[in-house]
Symmetry: D2
């Protein structure tokens, strides 16, 4: 099969890209994300038709946040869009006249990294995506592990603190409350509030108040040596690394890939994660250690992965 | 391939059994477990030779507690026997003249249940063994998931309480400190100590002191309505079920199988585990639920599973 | 000194009562709670003047939620009203022409119970108030323990779960997130959501949805045997009792008094709290146990206590 | 009253000292600690008689680890010596012919610091002693707060981690498992085991293995910049400071005094404790902050305090 289209549904825009067999994006089209469930489907179709012009495309892969069923056809539940048992595959196929595969967006991103990014050369890979929340994907023996019902790899909802922080999922103590972009901001605000004299650079990058601290301020401030910003990354890394150690006990992959906006900071965040991973890895002296790698495809991993999953059929 | 031998290495005895293609044990031989690493290897060979008499066996599968390498040949680390990078496969092959496969004992038991026990008809199964500690095994797509380095499915060391109880592995807060036979005894002793008037039946079955409470007393007392015994099972089930909910978020199997001595109590312990599983399952209303099944092969699962893994080669 | 006035500032109304030396309320006047800080002060003055008519009153005691300074004059910080370093004593004295004493409302309630309620006959008492949140007060050697800066006995913000639930105070894992009326509602909603078939009575008392469950439904349902309602009270009691055991390790009082709306349920909630207290009390077999008593003055404890504190001067 | 004797019962030796009204030790005598309960009593008497020679002493104060009753006469329970309801006051009075006061050793040390050490000038002081375990004492309004039954200020057994580490007291998650000399050693060993390359100095001070690390190595290594040693102190400080923040919410003292062997390291450990205290102090911007002071009397605080308590009668 030749060219396929990958679709990434973001909070503000929907991107559709024509992707070749090497994972290269030949063309891309974006439209704003509509606010209604039906609107999103129409917008996906628009973006697909738009980007297809001049390309011989054979299939479409869509990465969607939420639970996707075992047939990769229906979105059982999407937390951000109001989709409940939405027959996304059928509706988009009707509109664009191409075979469609739907996949969880973090799964698609994991597949993209496995095929064309940091995971090349590994057959057993676990990816975590540290974005606003925490998503993940699993490759076992060169195949995407979707689970029996299609909802595997929901790492963000691993319970890491009994009776811990409330999560949007209704549960408490979920890993994404402790290791995600949102958690990073909380760490920085709490620390800046408690000790503003250690957060002068950080506070200076925003409006001067702890509540005004945003994610981008934290990485900028950390690079400039701000103690609160550095400590906030360290706290994030403590939780991220400890969770990876748990995943090593369960999956035993040869590599972990850490993606998402937080990981754009590279070794600023990856080195502390590696330390924490090693610190908490059970039986660490008796086993080979998985590598902890930075993702390579950035925000395009999901689109590229979805396109490739569509190619595989 | 016809008959194979499965070997189970227990703390007090080593059992070798001749197993047919249906998982039936045709013959069995046991020897006491020696105290030296080399002694154990000789005892395995003795038991294998002894039970082979009169059977046409083609291979041997050994289930061993600890880390087994990715070639299923070397025990990297055994917590109970002093094996460190022990070339078990080679040493036993030299002694018995048959091909040998080594597998982690909980993996072998999971495979046995999948092939001939509660897991029949399922392709994606996660097993936990609630014995003295907590072990586990994973079947994905009808294949045993060993991990890249052979050490997957170490469920007992999932960190469920940050800064929690010390574990023999050197880490803290490991799941097996909260969901295992040993944990059950701790729960009962603590509760009987705090409120002996609620543990009259339970205390009466032992020597009358909290420290004298043993595992078997707790199930007997629970069946007789002892409040402390019932509450101890409930506490065990809280932790077991919450952990299964985590595993559902990660693996998304169609069934969980709960084995080990604690599960011999059947619905006394399984029903509370099912409740707790459902209580903590993330997104429970938007996804199919895995079944939580009792293991069917009892203490023979490891032996039968090891024999079958040897047959598969 | 003869009669004094106690003032209780609630979220919807302000009550001023004339109280005699025996703690009896002779007359009471209520006004709605205004929405501005200055409005509240005027309303307090109005209520005081109104209720004074026909009585010879000599002083006024005001119970206010928040931090009150060591001079019992200034509200340093009130979480509900926008008071920051508010000179409440001076402002009210100017308006009503009587000496005024300001006290934290939970301290005032504790004093009321000590003098005229469940604490009579005890010299060392620790009170907790399980209302929407969790407040407290301490009597040591027959004196209210205010602390060096006036802000002692902030029990609600004891950290009982590291990295636990966010609290309005900005911290995490505060006791009032686990033991309070608000926590009780959360327990019931979570459990009803996970297992609606065990919450039929409870759900039937509201609008049928977990989110529609209110505090009063839970006690009604518990009395009717609803499993989720009963289990929610048990969870509340686990945390309340464990916290009292901590306070016993620190203060070692002869009695605990449990007040607030939750405690209106009497032994429905007090018995499980007593069990949990005993379960977690350190060294329980080597020490006399403090009693755990139900408050006797209900919602009037704060008003009566504030009046009596004004009398003591 | 003029001179009194203070007695400190340690694990290896018993010290008796003649102390004047200014807290100065005029003479001191030590004997080895016998292994039997009765032997300890005789040894106390021997040490008292020995040190009395040439002094006009009027009373004896004994600091003992464990629960001391409200009459300051009977040791209800001593964890190290096998004393259970031991009438220590009577037995020693019979042997030495002087009035005897018995006090919990951490209470005695707190009193010593309050009267003659870091607590001078404060009326409301909370002391913690970071020794092998964690003890404490409370001064409120210039008086030692013993509690109604004599067993207040058992800070070490505050539950800071639900389902946390087992404690010798039978409970779990006690503060002294996280903030004490023993905890410090555990932190260092765990970290050195996980990352020996960051503990080269520390490991070099002992026998080269993580298990060989002792407390004194950690402070020496920290002063030489060893990363694991520094991080171990930081972890200790996290827990110590967070606990002090809890105690501030409860007692609201004007000062905390940190004593015990761990605090001998001075600002190496006190500065991180101060930071952590401030980090976790609830409502920190709306209240005056208690000072966190280093103890001044070192290992003599208990002896001096016990002597002074005997003087007060």
């Amino acid at each position: 099969m030749g060219l396929t289209i990958g679709v990434d549904i973001g909070g503000t825009k929907i991107a559709a890209g024509v992707v070749d067999e090497e994972g290269a994006i030949l063309d891309i089209s974006t439209v704003p994300t509509p606010s209604t469930p039906e609107g999103v489907i129409n917008a996906i179709a628009d973006a697909v038709r738009d980007v297809s012009v001049g390309h011989q495309v054979e299939a479409v892969g869509i990465g969607a946040a939420g639970y996707v069923d075992d047939k990769r056809a229906t979105v059982l539940f999407a937390p951000n869009i109001n989709w409940r048992h939405e027959a996304l595959k059928d509706k988009v196929e009707q509109r664009v006249g191409l075979p469609v595969v739907v996949e969880n967006d973090a799964n698609a991103a994991a597949w993209g990294e496995y095929r064309f990014g940091a995971g090349q050369g590994h057959d057993d890979v676990v990816c975590i995506t540290l974005g606003t929340g925490l998503g993940g994907g699993i490759i076992i023996g060169g195949r995407l592990h979707r689970g029996r019902f299609g909802v595997a790899a929901e790492f963000g909802h691993l319970r890491v603190v009994p009776d811990g922080l409330l999560c949007g999922c209704g549960s408490q103590g979920c890993w994404e409350q402790y290791a995600s972009g949102r958690a990073l901001v909380r760490y920085a605000r709490q620390r800046a509030n408690a000790a503003p004299e250690n957060a002068e650079i950080l506070l200076g990058l925003g409006d001067g108040t702890p509540q005004g601290i945003q994610g981008k301020h934290i990485s900028d401030a950390a690079r400039q040596g701000d103690p609160v910003a550095i400590d906030s990354f360290r706290e994030l890394a403590r939780w991220a690394g400890a969770g990876l150690a748990d995943l090593a006990s369960l999956f035993d992959p040869s590599a972990f890939i850490v993606g998402g906006g937080v990981s754009d900071e590279g070794d600023l965040v990856l080195d502390p994660i590696r330390k924490s991973f090693r610190r908490w890895l059970v039986g660490s002296q008796w086993r080979p250690h998985a590598q902890v790698l930075a993702a390579q495809l950035g925000g395009k991993a999901g689109l590229v992965g979805a396109a490739d999953l569509a190619r595989q059929g």
